[in-house]
Symmetry: C2
Subunit: 363 residues, 2 copies
Amino acid sequence: MSGVERLGEQLERIERVRKSRRGRFYLRDDFITMSHGSGGKATHNLVEGVFATAFSNPVLDRMDDSALLQLSGARLAFTTDSYVVRPLFFPGGDIGRLAVHGTVNDLAVAGAVPLYLSVGVVLEEGFAVAELRRIVESMKSAAEEAAVSIVTGDTKVVERGKADGVYINTAGIGLVRPDASVSAGNARPKDQILISGRIAEHGVAIMMARNDLDLETQVESDTGPVHELAAALIDRLGSDVRTLKDPTRGGVATALNEIALQSQVGLVIDEQRVPIRPDVRGACELLGIDPLHMANEGKLLAVVAAGRGDNALDALRGHPLGLDAAIIGEVRTEPEGLVASRTAVGGERILDMLVGDALPRIC
Amino acid sequence: MSGVERLGEQLERIERVRKSRRGRFYLRDDFITMSHGSGGKATHNLVEGVFATAFSNPVLDRMDDSALLQLSGARLAFTTDSYVVRPLFFPGGDIGRLAVHGTVNDLAVAGAVPLYLSVGVVLEEGFAVAELRRIVESMKSAAEEAAVSIVTGDTKVVERGKADGVYINTAGIGLVRPDASVSAGNARPKDQILISGRIAEHGVAIMMARNDLDLETQVESDTGPVHELAAALIDRLGSDVRTLKDPTRGGVATALNEIALQSQVGLVIDEQRVPIRPDVRGACELLGIDPLHMANEGKLLAVVAAGRGDNALDALRGHPLGLDAAIIGEVRTEPEGLVASRTAVGGERILDMLVGDALPRIC
């Protein structure tokens, strides 16, 4: 197949998905609610109903975690995220570490080597400079850990009460690996689905830090970079790595739904195969939130070609952050755009995106 | 001179400037104040004292409005800005238009063709979706006007009262023109200084919109893209364009101080040659703010090689946005790092960066 034909096919698929999404996501609200920030269904309604429609262009319409750009011969990934997590410091991390690794991870799941970050901070009048320095030091070491440079920035201040200490935006640029060809739109029937480790730890750590629940054990956020896990997978499987996602806001369930929708396939996972700490599962039960909807900030969700699951598992487990990796499901032809979950008793339930605002300001 | 020697010289200069800046800017405050967001001296103290020290690397240390990146053969400019302007809508523009053109302009003054933007919004719970749509439509038309594509984005929501409707961050990528070689560190003695049009209109428009003063005439913000003005200059003068700046927060005076500091030269301007509407000057007098400290959001400040001022003026005036362009001063050897202003009566005064918080949340 020639490059021109492939591009034409890709554009057709994007247009088809764009239309089907438009039908599925529609913003009916007159006012912004906390659920629009959940990363789940309401966020998708807002993004599709307001932003994606207005700004529509071929790069944006792919709706991956990073934009893919061709610039003077270089293939770049470009992404942005704002961080409004509350509290600013939590077990296992802080807003600074999150802001660096979140954007590093969005580049990594585009099959890119993360390289450069920008940082924009909105500070609240009265915020302690000592806390700001702590956050900046944390960003510095997070950047070193992920081998990225912070190369440009901006600082604004708003009046007391008009922010919670600090909001941080990071944007990032990475160089897409020539051997990578990943997109949420690339999953094909019979492909296999993997997760790099135990889920729901960021969400539970944040809820615990807010004193929303009291457990005997300590749960730390998994905030960390997944670029080496992504690289290990691509090193081993090349273009047999179809899709990579970091299942943050909205959790694994929302990320899987995005893949099902973008690829126009059905996904099914086996709940018992999803790795999770028993105390984290217990915390989720106490909170009444499905762990599959809980945010992760250092996990990689991967779809790989049929039959390559074991190689992928091996590649992930070869990295210290991937020791608990597991194959958790597979891709089906139908029902198109939906995710099913096989329960412990053998039934199947539909696994939707996160609905509502159970987890405000989780990142 | 070989490329290696030139690079060595550049790095030496950057190191020298970095050290002299460190001495000049030092953060003594324990808490963030509104003046840290003014764009003037306190902002520089914060940026130098906290961010630049921690994140120091050769790209960041240039401290230009955009970072310059070499990526797989492509020479890129990369920049970011957050926008917290109050009110969200003002005569001549709104936060959306500002957020697009502000970042477009930071790329343009790096000698780059602006190409791609990211958008990160922090929304306040309860914000009207109709207002958000208005802002998004404004961003869309601003992007079209500047020929850039919005290719990636992110949406967060914070509780009622924790933001003022919406804060917007944009980051941008542009391709640096091969014939451009501009930097705030490139001004040389005898170079000439130009401004592309009448100053202080954004600042005055915002102050009027806040009902801080009541004038008979209407002043509109100059919010707009300067990329065509920058291109016209580079088309005509090539590398004889030494420095480009968009004098936003902190105004022309702060931008000139940044050039003096980065280039280790003295600058002198002739106040009477700086174009300004009489009613805008009157408004500044009422407010007790030097118009040279007032923000502009669609003006280009340029330093060009000695003897090229008239060519530069001609290039600027050939564009509808440059009809009021003027040569306003020149570069001197001394006093190094300082800006002087010749007053109407023939004296000279030192023109410092904006000090204090006279103009909070101007962009």
